[in-house]
C-alpha cells in the first residue's frame, strides 16, 4: 500500500501493491467473494484447508505465468477455453502430486481437487491480470492472490476445527471433556464462519478508511 519509496514503482505494472493487493485489499475470498465452493466445502479442518490453499496457489501461480507467456498468441474469442486447458493441466499435476504426498488428505478433499479447475479465483486472475501483463507481474500477482486465498481458507479451517472438534492440526486443545460444536463441521457452519469473518473484515476496512480520512 505504501510502495512510494520502493524502486519497483519505476515500472508501472510491478509494485509492492501487485503483491500486497492479493493478500488483503483484493483478497479473493474476503473482498471478491470468489472461489466460494472450496472455501465452504473443505475448510472443516486446518489440514484440509491448508492443502486446498497450497494446491490452489500452485495452480494459480503456474497458470498465471503460462497465460501471461502466451497472451500475445491467443485470439480473444477462444481465450477462456485456452485458460481452462492451461488451468486443467496444472490441476492434473497438483492432483497427482497430492496423491503421491498424502493419499489421506487427497481422499479427504475428494472431488474438490479436480474442481480447482473451475475455481473462479484462478480464471478471474487469468482473465483480468495475467492475460494483460508481462511474466514477472503475473507471477507476483499469482503469489499474492495465492497467499490471500490460503490465508482466508486457513482462517476458516482454524475456526471450524477449533470449535467443531476442539483440536488444531489434530492436536487437542481443550482436554477430553470438550463438547464439540457439531454445526461447525457441517456445511452450515461454513456459512456461519464465512459470514462472521466477512463481518470482521468489513469492520477492519471501515475502521482504516475512517482513520485515513482523519
Amino acid at each position: 500500500m505504501s510502495g512510494n519509496n520502493n524502486p519497483a514503482t519505476a515500472q508501472p505494472t510491478l509494485s509492492l501493491d501487485t503483491f500486497l493487493d492479493g493478500i488483503w485489499k483484493e483478497n479473493p475470498v474476503f473482498i471478491h467473494l470468489l472461489g466460494m465452493c472450496p472455501v465452504l466445502a473443505v475448510s472443516n479442518s486446518v489440514i484440509n484447508a491448508l492443502s486446498m490453499g497450497m494446491a490452489t496457489m500452485f495452480v494459480l501461480i503456474m497458470s498465471n505465468m503460462v497465460v501471461s507467456l502466451v497472451r500475445h498468441w491467443v485470439p480473444g474469442q477462444i481465450r477462456i477455453a485456452t485458460f481452462i486447458v492451461i488451468i486443467a493441466t496444472f490441476v492434473t499435476v497438483a492432483e497427482y502430486a497430492m496423491q503421491a504426498i498424502s493419499l489421506e488428505v487427497y481422499q479427504a478433499l475428494g472431488a474438490y481437487v479436480p474442481l480447482i479447475v473451475v475455481n473462479c479465483t484462478i480464471l478471474g486472475r487469468a482473465e483480468s491480470f495475467a492475460s494483460k501483463n508481462p511474466l514477472l507481474p503475473s507471477l507476483v500477482d499469482g503469489v499474492g492472490v495465492g497467499i490471500g486465498f490460503t490465508f482466508a481458507i486457513f482462517m476458516m479451517g482454524a475456526v471450524r476445527e477449533v470449535l467443531g472438534a476442539g483440536t488444531f492440526l489434530e492436536i487437542p486443545l481443550f482436554g477430553p471433556n470438550f463438547e464439540p460444536w457439531v454445526v461447525m463441521v457441517l456445511p452450515g457452519g461454513g456459512f456461519f464462519v464465512l459470514g462472521a469473518l466477512l463481518l470482521v473484515v468489513v469492520w477492519i476496512n471501515e475502521r482504516f478508511k475512517k482513520e485515513n480520512a482523519v
Binding site: 481443550f174 471433556n177 463438547e179 469492520w203
Partner: protein, 354 residues
C-alpha cells in the same frame, strides 16, 4: 405538554399554543419492545416456578449475553447504539424461553451472542435482519449441540429452588454431566412413545418442555394484551394457529391416530412461536394478504414437520422458513395504488408475436 407538568404549580397558563393539524406521535420502538417484555414476563415467571433456579439463571444469562453483545457491536459499528430500545432484551429473553431449562449456561451465553451478532448485526442491525434473531440463535444451538438441546427436565423437581439442575453449570466448552432427572416433552412422548398428555396440563404448562414454552395460557394472555394495545398484528397468530387447528382437525377426523387439534394447539412451542416470534415486525410481511399467507405457510409447515418430520417439534423451522419467504410475499401482495389501474398482462400480443 408543559401544561400538564406544571398544573400544580403557579404558572398555570404556561402552555404552548399550536395550530392544527395535531398529529399523534404514535408509539415508538422502545415503547413497543418494553410492552412485549411485560407480556412475556408472566409466562417466564411461571417457568421459574415450574423449573426452579435453573430457568431463572437461563433467562438472565441469555438476556445479559444478548444485551452485552448488542452494546459491544453497537459501539464498534459506529452507528447509533440501539441497546436502549429493549430489542436485545426481547431477543435474549425469547431465546432463553425456547431452550430446555437445564441447558448448560455457557452454551446459552454463546447462543445469545450469536443471535445478536449473526442474526442481527451481520445483516445491518435492527430492521434489516431477515430472520428472527432469537430463532436463528436457537437454530444454531440446535445444530451445534444436538444432545444438550434435546435433554428435557422434569417439571416440579423437588429442591428446584435450592439448587440448580446439574447440567446448567457445566464448565465452558465442556460436555455437561449426565442428566439427573430427565422428562419427555408432550410432543416427544407422542412421537416416540405414542402417549397423549392431558390437555389441561398442556394449557397450564405443568409439563416438561423448553423453559418458556409450556404455559400456553399465559403466553396467549400476553398476546391478547399486546393485541389489545395494537402492538402486535393479531392476524398472524390467528392465521397460524387457525391453520394448525384446521389442518390437524382434518387429519384427526380422517385418521384418529393423528393428534387432536387441541393437543397440537397447546403443546410445544406453537403458542410462544405464533404469538411472540412469528409477529416480529421486522421479519413478517407488511401487507394484509401477505400476513394471512405468512400465517398459513408457517401453520402448514408446523403441522407437516410435527406429523411427518423426523423432529418432534417444527415451529422454529416453520417460522424461519416463513421469514425467508417474507420478502417474496411482500413483493407479490403489494396493493394497487389508489387511482391507478392494474397493469393488464398482454398475453394476446405475445401469442401473436410467437
Amino acid at each position: 405538554m408543559s401544561m400538564f407538568e406544571k398544573q400544580g404549580g403557579q404558572k398555570y397558563l404556561d402552555m404552548e399554543l399550536r395550530t392544527s393539524p395535531h398529529y399523534s406521535r404514535g408509539v415508538d420502538v422502545p415503547q413497543i419492545m418494553r410492552n412485549v417484555v411485560y407480556a412475556l414476563l408472566p409466562a417466564a415467571a411461571m417457568s421459574v416456578y415450574t423449573f426452579g433456579l435453573s430457568a431463572l439463571a437461563l433467562f438472565l444469562v441469555t438476556t445479559v449475553s444478548a444485551v452485552l453483545t448488542e452494546f459491544i457491536l453497537g459501539r464498534l459499528s459506529g452507528h447509533d447504539n440501539t441497546v436502549g430500545d429493549f430489542s436485545a432484551v426481547i431477543t435474549g429473553l425469547l431465546l432463553g424461553m425456547t431452550l430446555p431449562p437445564g441447558f448448560p449456561l455457557w452454551m446459552a451465553a454463546a447462543g445469545g451472542a450469536i443471535s445478536i451478532a449473526m442474526g442481527k448485526f451481520m445483516f445491518g442491525g435492527l430492521g434489516f435482519n431477515v430472520f428472527n434473531p432469537a430463532l436463528l440463535g436457537r437454530a444454531f444451538l440446535q445444530a451445534a449441540f444436538p444432545v444438550a438441546i434435546t435433554t428435557w427436565d422434569a417439571p416440579f423437581a423437588p429442591g428446584r429452588f435450592i439448587e440448580m439442575i446439574n447440567t446448567s453449570l457445566a464448565l465452558p466448552f465442556m460436555t455437561p454431566p449426565p442428566h439427573a432427572a430427565t422428562g419427555a416433552t408432550p410432543l416427544a412422548a407422542l412421537k416416540f412413545d405414542g402417549q397423549v398428555t392431558p390437555s389441561l396440563e398442556l394449557l397450564l404448562g405443568t409439563v416438561s418442555g423448553s423453559a418458556g414454552e409450556t404455559s400456553a395460557l399465559l403466553l396467549a394472555l400476553g398476546g391478547l394484551y399486546l393485541a389489545a394495545r395494537k402492538m402486535l398484528d393479531w392476524r398472524i397468530p390467528a392465521a397460524m394457529l387457525g391453520t394448525v387447528v384446521v389442518l390437524s382437525g382434518i387429519l384427526h377426523t380422517v385418521n384418529p391416530q393423528y393428534p387432536s387439534p387441541v393437543f397440537m394447539l397447546f403443546s410445544g412451542g406453537l403458542m410462544l412461536g405464533a404469538v411472540f416470534m412469528a409477529t416480529d415486525m421486522v421479519t413478517s410481511p407488511v401487507t394484509g394478504r401477505g400476513v394471512l399467507m405468512f400465517g398459513l405457510l408457517t401453520g402448514v409447515l408446523t403441522v407437516v414437520i410435527r406429523i411427518w418430520g423426523g423432529l418432534p417439534e417444527g415451529v422454529m423451522y416453520a417460522i424461519i422458513l416463513g421469514n425467508a419467504a417474507t420478502p417474496l410475499i411482500n413483493s407479490h401482495t403489494q396493493p394497487r395504488k389508489y387511482g391507478t389501474v392494474k397493469p393488464v398482462k398482454q398475453k394476446k400480443q405475445q401469442q401473436g408475436g410467437a
